[in-house]
């Protein structure tokens, strides 16, 4: 048992206690949390900084407004409903289209039809705060539904694959693609069963994937190879992620990005408490890379310089990757 702990420490694996106490508590001031915990605010901040985000269709912030749903989405075929202060992807409903017979029947991404009242109930749950972090009243965001880049059509089941980049003091440290599976019900959350695939920070090429605790190199549903894919717009993605630090002021940040077929990479949300599974997907511990950045940290480096450093120093061929079991 202690030998495993020692091995993990040698491999630079970051644990929850250390993440909470050394990085989240020290680098993420509480006052900045609302910037990322409220997705509406994140969206506004990102827009002000000139970053690309999915288009906002409307906001429902009170029970009385729930009836306005059909009005907001009248001209839209597909859209996403999100709680502004939700956590872990809970409460997100993706409407992929409408029933051919009646426009008041909405088809979710998994093919289930929801009637207007059902969808309204879901929104009123969101507004009453069922999915918000502290149970406080929330508002529901209705926004553009991303149609993902064809690159990913082979390697995802139903939902939208997204890219998670961990940004440490403004430097991108580690990235992964999260591919939805049948088990995850089209959601890109690892703990729900999505596949996480590590990305080489230098080249933007995918490494091996992890599903649950098992290492995989093909998608469990489609069987397509998931390693060796080249992520398009990689440089732009790293720039957007690094910019997330300047926008939020959070020193330990997870930035979630989707690649839209038409609009390219869009910032979906940012997270002040990004999970640690990314280490498994990359077969690499975070601590070591964080140490590397701490050693070469330049307080006034701009986004381009930080990204350039990360792509040079944290590239896969420079890293001693851990052998797989």
């Amino acid at each position: 048992m202690f030998s495993i702990a020692q091995q993990l420490r040698d491999a630079g694996v970051l644990g929850l206690n250390q993440r909470n106490s050394e990085y989240i508590m020290q680098l993420n001031p509480r006052k900045f949390y609302p910037r990322v915990d409220d997705k509406l605010r994140t969206k506004k901040l990102a827009l002000e900084a000139g970053m690309a985000v999915p288009e906002l269709y409307g906001v429902i912030s009170s029970q009385a407004e729930v009836r306005k749903l059909s009005e907001i989405v009248a001209s839209r075929e597909s859209f996403v409903i999100k709680p502004a202060r939700g956590s872990g992807g809970n409460g997100i409903t993706v409407i992929a289209g409408r029933s051919k017979r009646s426009r008041s029947y909405y088809r979710t991404i998994s093919g289930i039809f929801l009637s207007e009242p059902e969808l309204q109930h879901h929104i009123s749950n969101v507004v009453s705060g069922q999915y918000s972090l502290s149970g406080k009243p929330d508002c529901a965001i209705i926004e553009y539904c991303v149609t993902f880049d064809p690159l990913f059509s082979e390697v995802s089941y139903l939902g939208v694959p997204d890219i998670r980049v961990i940004v440490y003091r403004g430097y991108p440290v580690m990235g992964m693609v999260r591919l939805p599976t049948r088990v995850s019900d089209g959601k890109a959350n690892l703990h729900k069963g999505a596949v996480g695939v590590g990305i080489d920070i230098g080249s933007g090429e995918t490494l091996l994937g992890v599903c649950g605790n098992a290492v995989v190199d093909d998608h469990p549903d489609t069987g397509a190879l998931i390693s060796g894919l080249r992520i398009p717009h990689w440089a732009f993605i790293l720039h957007s992620a690094a910019k997330g630090y300047d926008v939020t002021g959070l020193g330990y940040l997870g930035v979630d990005i989707v690649i839209d077929r038409k609009h390219g990479p869009l910032i979906l949300e940012m997270n002040a408490r990004p999970g640690l599974n990314i280490q498994i997907a990359n077969c690499c511990g975070l601590s070591r890379r964080i140490r590397q950045i701490d050693e070469h940290y330049e307080p006034r480096a701009d986004v381009a310089r930080r990204v350039e450093f990360a792509r040079r120093e944290l590239a896969a061929d420079k890293q001693v990757n851990l052998p797989l079991r």
Partner: protein, 506 residues
């Protein structure tokens, strides 16, 4: 920097807690284990006499300074007498008085003492006694003895030893024979010794005490010799010259006065009886601290009403539960609902017992959860839905109690002791996890909660720990220090070892 403050604070808290603990344990004798007992001696003095026609006054010598012993309590038992305690020249005196009475009278004085080797109880330094006036031929005899003994001694102690050696010699000096020819009782013998010592200008007095032995019905006071050497009182065995007090010797009174004086009565008889008992060490420690006017006990839990004390006996275990939660979550890494919910469940397990508690908790949560899923279909808003779940939980508790009572299982009644709001919140959160993350995660967290509750119950239910914390609440400072230290635990959680296992191995 922060780290140093954390260690400093934790160290300070632990040291403060430990210091207070050691003081109470070692200094005041608070017992470490529950039910620890200390032997106590009950000495009962029975005074019997026949009253005369007039008013009666009885004075009994009672102990003042008792090296090696501390008093726990003293009582007087008498019918129709006025009672008072007076300080007199030789020490203390109990006095009974009555205007008139008839028939044989019996008065009791009872004193309860316990051995305490730390009890010094030294007396003040007496003045040099005036040389006694002695008639001839005794004066000459004393003079000769004192001169001879002085030649063979260096100080008070050796003078006394030498005197006692000569006095107790099997073939004594004619002067000594002359002096002690009139001493029939050992008390008179010691009295004569004090006269000789007074002649040599050495402060000396007779003490009389009782050798404590269990189940003694008639105990005769044993005279002993006390000599002051200018610094302190020394004790001598008048018959051997050995220095020191006998074992278990309780000094009852000092001086030549008789034990009892009864004016207006006749046929006076005094008797000592000794009995050994055992008393809870805690009450003795508290008594002692009270006598020492220790603030520790003045402001302790023991000063609260008994009912409140019982509440605190339970409440003081909550920090132990909190420590278990910290350990299980941050070091082991078990997932559960609510930060301290398991502690509250564990508290209710104290009443229901473990097995029934676990069964009832599972039953309640399962039933509540199924009803919560029915409510889900009604599309209620959050707060009304929580309210509905709470009401359903209360109704379920009632049904469980009534049904189990009808079936003759009285343990089912204790379900009423579950914190229902906590259970309602658990059901709500569990149902949300169920929907959002699937049945597996919900079950795992539910089982985790139950496991934590059981572990907390086992830890909080340890009787010796409960006694220790209640007697020494300052130990909670050490618990606080531990929790603060664990707040800086940066290592892996045990469950993370399994989670990141794939990354280990180089």
């Amino acid at each position: 920097m922060t780290k140093r403050y954390v260690y400093l604070l934790a160290g300070f808290l632990a040291a403060a807690g430990l210091a207070l603990f050691v003081y109470k344990w070692h200094g005041l004798g608070f017992p470490l284990a529950a039910g620890q007992e200390t032997p106590v001696w009950t000495i009962e003095t029975t005074i019997k006499f026949d009253p005369g026609p007039g008013s009666i006054k009885a004075s009994l010598q009672i102990p003042t300074l008792t090296p090696g012993f501390e008093m726990l309590r003293e009582y007087n038992v008498s019918k129709g007498y006025g009672f008072s305690l007076n300080y007199v020249s030789g020490g203390r005196e109990a006095q009974w008085a009555v205007r008139r009475t008839d028939g044989p009278q019996t008065i009791y004085y009872r004193r309860i003492v316990y051995a305490d080797s730390s009890s010094e109880q030294s007396d003040t330094t007496p003045p040099f006694p005036p040389p006694p006036v002695i008639e001839e031929p005794f004066q000459t005899a004393v003079d000769v003895i004192v001169t001879e003994v002085r030649e063979h001694s260096a100080d008070t102690a050796s003078f006394t030893s030498e005197l006692l050696r000569r006095v107790n010699d099997s073939s004594p000096d004619p002067n000594i024979e002359l002096l002690f020819s009139g001493a029939e009782t050992s008390a008179e013998f010691v009295q004569s010794l004090t006269t000789i010592l007074a002649f040599a200008r050495i402060p000396a007095r007779m003490i009389r005490g009782i050798v404590l032995q269990d189940q003694q019905r008639r105990v005769e006071p044993l005279p002993w010799l006390e000599v002051h050497d200018g610094d302190r009182w020394l004790y001598f065995n008048p018959n051997t010259g050995e220095q020191g007090l006998p074992d278990h010797y309780l000094i009852w009174w000092r001086g030549n006065e008789s034990l009892i004086r009864v004016t207006g009565g006749s046929n006076v008889d005094v008797n000592f009886a000794v009995q050994k008992n055992f008393v809870d060490s805690l009450s003795i420690a508290e008594q002692r601290a009270e006598q020492e006017h220790s603030m520790v006990v003045e402001f302790s839990l023991a000063s609260l009403p008994i009912q409140i004390q019982a509440v605190y006996a339970v409440l003081l275990m909550v920090p132990i539960g909190a420590l278990i939660m910290v350990l299980m979550r941050n070091v082991v890494g078990i997932d559960a609902f609510g930060t301290f919910m398991p502690v509250l469940i564990a508290l209710s397990f104290r009443e229901t017992q473990l097995l029934w508690g676990a069964i009832l908790f599972t039953l309640l949560v399962t039933m509540g959860l199924s009803i919560r899923f029915l409510l889900e279909r009604l599309r209620l808003l959050l707060v009304p839905r929580l309210g509905a779940v709470l009401i359903v939980v209360v109704l379920l508790m009632m049904v469980v109690s009534v049904v189990s009572h009808k079936l003759g299982m009285e343990t089912g009644l204790s379900v009423a002791l579950f914190p229902m709001v906590i259970i309602a919140m658990t059901i709500e959160r569990m149902s949300i996890v169920w929907e959002e993350r699937g049945a597996g995660d919900a079950m795992r967290a539910g089982a985790g909660s139950l496991l934590l509750a059981v572990v907390a119950y086992l830890a909080m239910g340890m009787r010796w720990l409960e006694h220790l914390i209640f007697t020494f609440p300052e130990l909670l400072l050490i618990v606080l220090a531990m929790v603060i230290l664990l707040g800086r635990y940066l290592g892996y959680r045990l469950t993370e070892l399994a989670r990141f296992k794939a990354l280990a191995g180089r």
